[in-house]
């Protein structure tokens, strides 16, 4: 007697579950998980590569910076502002410590103990990433005597704190430490 191979009704149980269903589930899950796992390298390849991550610490000599003077350098290919505050600027920044700010911070929390006159911030406006003015001689320092971003009009005070304009946060203070009295390692 010939067996009708197309008729699989004998394989199903009363609940409509067939043994062959397991093969479908297993095959589709394997293909699905396999396909989904391919996404990981495809997405991950767009993240910063090893050489970009390796260039992530910078040494800065702050010894030659005069009070009131700033220098621009780079950290992770982004501008870094290093400023030596004058005693008047320190006093002004401390006076404003309790002022109403969008992102409240004290001068002390943004500098290292014993080096209150060295202010190190990223030169990247926290709004959309422009380089604020005010680090070089003769540039517009904004209404609060610190930095001014020309793109969308954010004003930062002497301690790099956002005081006016669309930027949501203070200029970022990167991780850094004094490796000697005059050399700072950023990152």
């Amino acid at each position: 007697m010939a067996i009708n191979t197309a008729d699989t009704s004998a394989l199903s149980t009363d609940e409509g579950v067939r043994r062959r269903d397991w093969i479908h589930i297993a095959a589709l899950s394997t293909a699905g998980v396999g396909g989904a796992s391919l996404l990981f390298p495809l997405i991950s390849q767009m993240a910063p590569s090893e050489d970009v991550l390796a260039a992530s610490s910078t040494d800065v000599d702050v010894g030659a910076i005069q009070p009131g003077q700033s220098i621009k350098t780079t950290f992770r290919k982004q501008p870094l502002f290093v400023k030596r505050l004058t005693p008047e600027e320190i006093a002004a920044a401390k006076k404003d410590d309790a002022a109403d700010m969008r992102d409240p911070a004290t001068l002390a929390s943004r500098t290292k103990e014993g080096h209150e006159d060295i202010l190190i911030t990223m030169g990247v406006c926290t709004h959309l990433g422009c380089v604020p003015l005010g680090a070089a001689e003769g540039e517009n320092k904004g209404e609060f005597g610190g930095y001014f971003c020309p793109c969308h009009g954010s004003h930062y005070d002497v301690a790099g704190r956002i005081r006016k304009g669309p930027a949501p946060l203070n200029l970022k203070v990167p991780e850094y430490s004094f490796s000697s009295d005059t050399v700072v390692r950023v990152g």
């Binding site: 997405i43 767009m46 993240a47 910063p48 590569s49 970009v52 621009k72 780079t74 992770r76 290919k77 982004q78 501008p79 969008r102 030169g123 990247v124 709004h127 959309l128 990433g129 422009c130 380089v131 604020p132 003015l133 971003c149 020309p150 793109c151 969308h152 009009g153 304009g165 669309p166 930027a167 949501p168």
Partner: protein, 453 residues
Amino acid sequence: MSFAWAKQYQPQSAFTKWLDEKLPFPRLVYNAVGAGYPVPRNLNYMWNFGVLAGFCLMLQIVTGVVLAMHYAANQAVAFGTVEHIMRNVNYGWMLRYAHANGASFFFIVIYLHIFRGFFYSSYKAPREMIWLLGVVIFLLMMATAFMGYVLPWGQMSFWGAQVITGLFTAIPLVGEPLQVWLLGGFAPDNAALNRFFSLHFLLPFVIAGVVILHIWALHIPGSSNPTGVEVKQESDTVPFHPYYTAKDGFGLGVFMILFTAMVFFLPNALGHPDNYIEANPLSTPALIVPEWYFYPFYAILRAFTGDLTIPFTGIVLIPAKLLGVIAMFGSILVWFILPWLDKSPVRSGHYRPLFRKFFWFGLIPTMAALFYLGGAHAEEPYIMLSQIFTAYYFMHFLVILPIISQIEVPKPLPFSITEAVLGKDKAAEAPRAGTVDGTDAGTATDGSLQPAE
């Protein structure tokens, strides 16, 4: 997918008969843009811009592929290779100017195409899908244009990339890692330039694919027309070829005169001089603005200067930066729900007195103002004006359109396109239950949905 009276393709020679059996490509063309596609007889010149947009896309692909033969997407040499194209490559200057101005003209054409859609309500049933696909094409065009502008690696390229990817940092929690991931670094650099080049090359072909869907969706109900009354009978239509191939050909001629005038006599008028300075990560240009075609959306982005807070508590619900980004994307995404915001059954603005007032004295001046404000410095009074016009823009779509579509009394519509063109229509005088030219014209006197098939 056409009207019942559409002419059928008849292959003449032995070769075309053979081809029609194996691969009926000539038949496809005949039915899509040939004599086999009946089109409303009353289309005005606002209906030229679809074909022109298709031409612009082809122009950009051809010039772009050629430019890619001479360009190198490497941060160290990209700026130099663009100058190399301008100075050394034979006709490189012409190809690059055609590509750069071609982008501007593509946007001019697309904006007029969208403007046509707004005024004649081309987004209404049964053409919602055409509209939705069109918005997708517009979004893809914006992404492509942005990435293309980064490739010369000038100051505006670099800072444009910085600012636009900076938009993503507004997203809570994942924003900053997302920006780093998009750029492949902490600032725009080689990784970003390379991936933008790759995507700038890819996306136009994706656009071409969506354009095919857009045209496919269009050919199901057929073109809209200036009366907004649907096609009912053969006398309402003329074949696409030769009538609209000729009309589109004339439009193309006018377009080419304006385009070549720009390419040959004012090639840099729409660009920014700062982009002829090589990218400098340490110095931001005094005024960062995108290309002119993004101005309205940039104005909306910059309009939000204050946080959304709970009054008197100081608790920030949404920071200003995120508000701006949401509004900018929202200003385009709102177009996706436009077919359901404008409930009026009348399509054409000509028969909608109230809608027409708000269109000409509300939406159009608002768009013009936002265009101007997006290119202005971020200072008063421009900020306040941006806020006012941004508010009107959203009001227009979300409040005014739904309300006027409820309260407006439209003017009487013509019986048919034929009546609108000739002043009378024999079919209108015939008994309403009768049939005209084999089609059931009598049952669709209100200009409502009538399938083409």
